[in-house]
């Protein structure tokens, strides 16, 4: 669109382009809004906090401090897109984390320990998925049971924290791969990998497209789609992500701690919703959740930068969540009325 004949025809082209874009990608709008908010946050922080905020160190830390959240958000995106919810992720993260620490302490090789904890997370996810799909249990209640189970198991493994000394695991966090002033650790790479795989699956596989269908159409089974296995699978995925997050968090803090992740599921849900995934299902993007996590992390960063109390964090996230939900509801209501 570089050649302009007359002003009038250019306006028409842009208008047409916008119309086509919005008719094709209106579900992208919430995610774009999140991106705008992220950019505004950066700019605002940069201006009001006297220019120290946007630094390579800070942005690198943004990814690494929130790597565990990012991994959980990918799993949660799958679940919420099917119109479900998984309240167990924080507890699964704690359980797998402490179990990993315990296994390593007992001398188990990471090659066995890591798959073991992933399996543990997957099994809890399987339990939730089965309850939801085959016993008609509401996802909220089923994942609540998962939360109880995982949290209790975490304390069964150990009542107190266990330090991790295994070099292979610590390497994940301590190694910094530098690009000039920027750096990234293997945990960060892992998180980004999970995001990439998640986004690919949702966009380019039949399974991924089925999750959208399940979320958008309660009678998706009548379309001949394999609803039961999709529904169970998303909870298993969320459980595996819980395990990966447990690994990452344990590497990050150098120890497993059974009290980790209390309330984390709410932060994950908030990040995913802020990133443009609608809680009623059917719409959302993994990359949107990535942006949502960054928004979350930036706010946390700004708050600590400002020296304000951490309690503001919860209030701001709560308020932001509310704003997004109300706006989402308005958008969905409008598109329903149109048809």
């Amino acid at each position: 669109m570089t050649n302009v004949e007359t002003v009038g025809s250019e306006r028409r082209n842009v208008g047409e382009y916008l119309q086509v874009f919005s008719s094709r990608h209106s579900s992208l709008l919430p995610t774009l809004a999140a991106l705008v908010i992220l950019i505004l946050l950066f700019i605002g922080a940069e201006i009001f906090l006297r220019g120290d905020f946007i630094s390579s160190g800070n942005i690198s830390a943004l990814l690494l401090d929130n790597a565990y959240l990012l991994i959980l958000a990918v799993g949660m995106t799958f679940v919420i897109v099917t119109a479900g919810i998984d309240l167990s992720v924080g507890s699964v993260m704690a359980f797998t984390g402490i179990w990993l620490a315990k296994l390593l302490e007992a001398g188990t090789s990471p090659v066995i320990a890591i798959p073991a904890i992933l399996l543990g997370g997957a099994l809890i996810g399987l339990l939730i998925g089965v309850l939801v799909q085959f016993f008609d249990v509401q996802p909220f209640i089923a994942s609540l049971a998962g939360l109880f189970l995982a949290r209790g198991l975490a304390f069964v493994v150990s009542l107190s924290s266990i330090k991790v000394e295994t070099p292979a695991v610590l390497w994940l966090q301590s190694t910094r791969i530098r690009f000039g002033d920027w750096y990234i650790t293997p945990t960060g790479i892992l998180a980004l990998l999970v995001v990439a795989v998640g986004a690919y699956v949702m966009q380019y596989t039949r399974f991924g497209r089925t999750t959208y269908a399940v979320g958008g159409n309660q009678q998706a089974a009548l379309m001949g789609l394999k609803v039961p296995r999709t529904t169970v699978a998303v909870y298993v995925i969320s459980g595996i992500c819980g395990g990966l997050a447990g690994l990452v968090l344990t590497a990050y803090s150098g120890a497993g701690y059974p009290r980790n992740g209390v309330g984390t599921e709410l932060d994950v849900i908030a990040a995913v919703v802020i990133g443009g995934t609608v809680l009623t299902g059917g719409r959302g993007y993994v990359l949107g959740s990535l942006i949502g996590v960054f928004v979350y992390g930036t706010i946390k960063s700004i708050i600590s930068f400002m020296g304000a109390e951490q309690s503001w964090m919860q209030i701001v996230i709560g308020a932001l969540l509310l704003l997004f939900i109300v706006v989402q509801r308005a958008i969905v209501a409008r598109s329903n009325r149109r048809t």
Partner: protein, 349 residues
């Protein structure tokens, strides 16, 4: 009607009684009650006393669930309520005066009422899904509580305030009388006025209720307000027990236990008919289970595993698909079927 009531309460009561019996068999002191200094002591008395916060929260949760809703914010409201009460007492000139304590409790309950009104507004007026609407307060509420206490765990020494959760009246714990009074009040309000029936109508068939002229909005709004007020009182009791306002620990996970109590008591999560008595039994079951777990020497931090198993068993038993499978098994398999829908119509929900 009586037949139904007996039927619904039957299993919960049986479960509770069995639990108590098992405990008594395992440790004979369980059922023993001793008298000392005008007070009754014993494991059973402890259960009556300790169940107060959960009892109040569960009562509120019952009403909200009856309207086909849910209230996830009760723990956060407890935290806010405790923070408000304690801050007032802490800043007061005489923390030991009864007047101060009354003002503090009154303020805490009022704040809780406002929070409940907020929830009700989101659900009834804006039509937001209850899970989501109350999730917001669940997140933000603790932040607010932390702000009020300025991040510290405020401790107070106030005799009247401590009396709320640790005092005794007529041999029995004061906290017990609180929840007994609330149960009676809720029972009277729900059953002696039309509120109970109208709430059930709204939960069972919202459309029929609308066409019949029932004011659903007001009913839903007041359900959330009630839930928050009860959570507020629970928060005061909790704070009185630890003599502090701990914005993080207050009411942690209580919404989950409350939902479990309601479900154990026979009220369906799908809304509609509810049972106050059932919830009472459900709470006592949970409290007794907690006591059992502790007695077994299991650290209380590990007790959630037991509750997870209980939740899974209960929901599987209550599951409609299980009923269908059982019915089909008993009816025997007929290749022609009974003209009932094939399975994927149900699954396609």
């Amino acid at each position: 009607m009586k037949r139904v009531m007996k039927h619904r309460l039957f299993w919960p009561v049986v479960a509770l009684v069995s639990l108590i019996l098992i405990n008594t068999v395992a440790r004979s002191q369980f059922a023993s009650i001793t008298v000392r200094d005008d007070r009754l002591y014993g494991a059973l008395i402890d259960i009556l006393r300790q169940s107060a916060p959960l009892m109040l929260v569960s009562l509120g949760m019952t009403i909200v669930i009856a309207t086909r809703g849910i209230d996830l914010s009760v723990g956060a409201v407890m935290a806010v309520s405790g923070a408000v009460a304690l801050t007032i007492i802490d800043d007061a000139t005489d923390p030991n005066s009864l007047g101060t304590v009354l003002v503090a409790v009154g303020a805490a309950v009022l704040v809780s009422l406002l929070l409940g009104g907020w929830n009700g507004f989101l659900v009834a007026a804006l039509g937001i899904q209850p899970i989501i609407a109350t999730l917001v307060l669940m997140l933000a509420g603790r932040g607010v509580a932390l702000l009020i206490t300025e991040g510290f765990i405020t401790t107070v020494n106030s005799t009247p305030f401590s009396f709320i959760s640790t005092g005794y009246v007529l041999l029995l714990p004061f906290a017990f009388f609180i929840w007994l009074a609330v149960v009676a009040a809720v029972g009277v309000i729900e059953r002696r006025t039309a509120l109970g029936v109208l709430t059930e109508a709204v939960g069972i068939n919202p459309e029929a209720s609308r066409l019949a002229g029932v004011r659903s909005r007001g009913i839903i709004w007041s359900a959330y307000a009630a839930s928050a007020v009860l959570a507020g009182i629970a928060g005061v009791i909790y704070a009185s027990n630890i003599r502090a306002a701990d914005a993080n620990a207050a009411g942690q996970f209580i919404e989950l236990y409350a939902i479990l109590a309601v479900v154990l008591g026979g009220t369906s999560l799908m809304g509609g008919k509810f049972s106050i008595a059932g919830t009472v039994v459900g709470v006592l079951i949970i409290q007794t289970l907690e006591s059992t777990v502790l007695f077994l020497g299991v650290p209380s931090a590990q007790s959630p595993v037991f509750f997870a198993i209980v939740v899974v068993v209960v929901v599987i038993i209550q599951s409609p698909s299980l009923h269908r499978v059982v019915r089909n098994v008993f009816r025997g398999t007929r290749s022609g079927g009974t003209g009932e829908p094939t399975s994927d119509v149900e699954a396609a929900r």
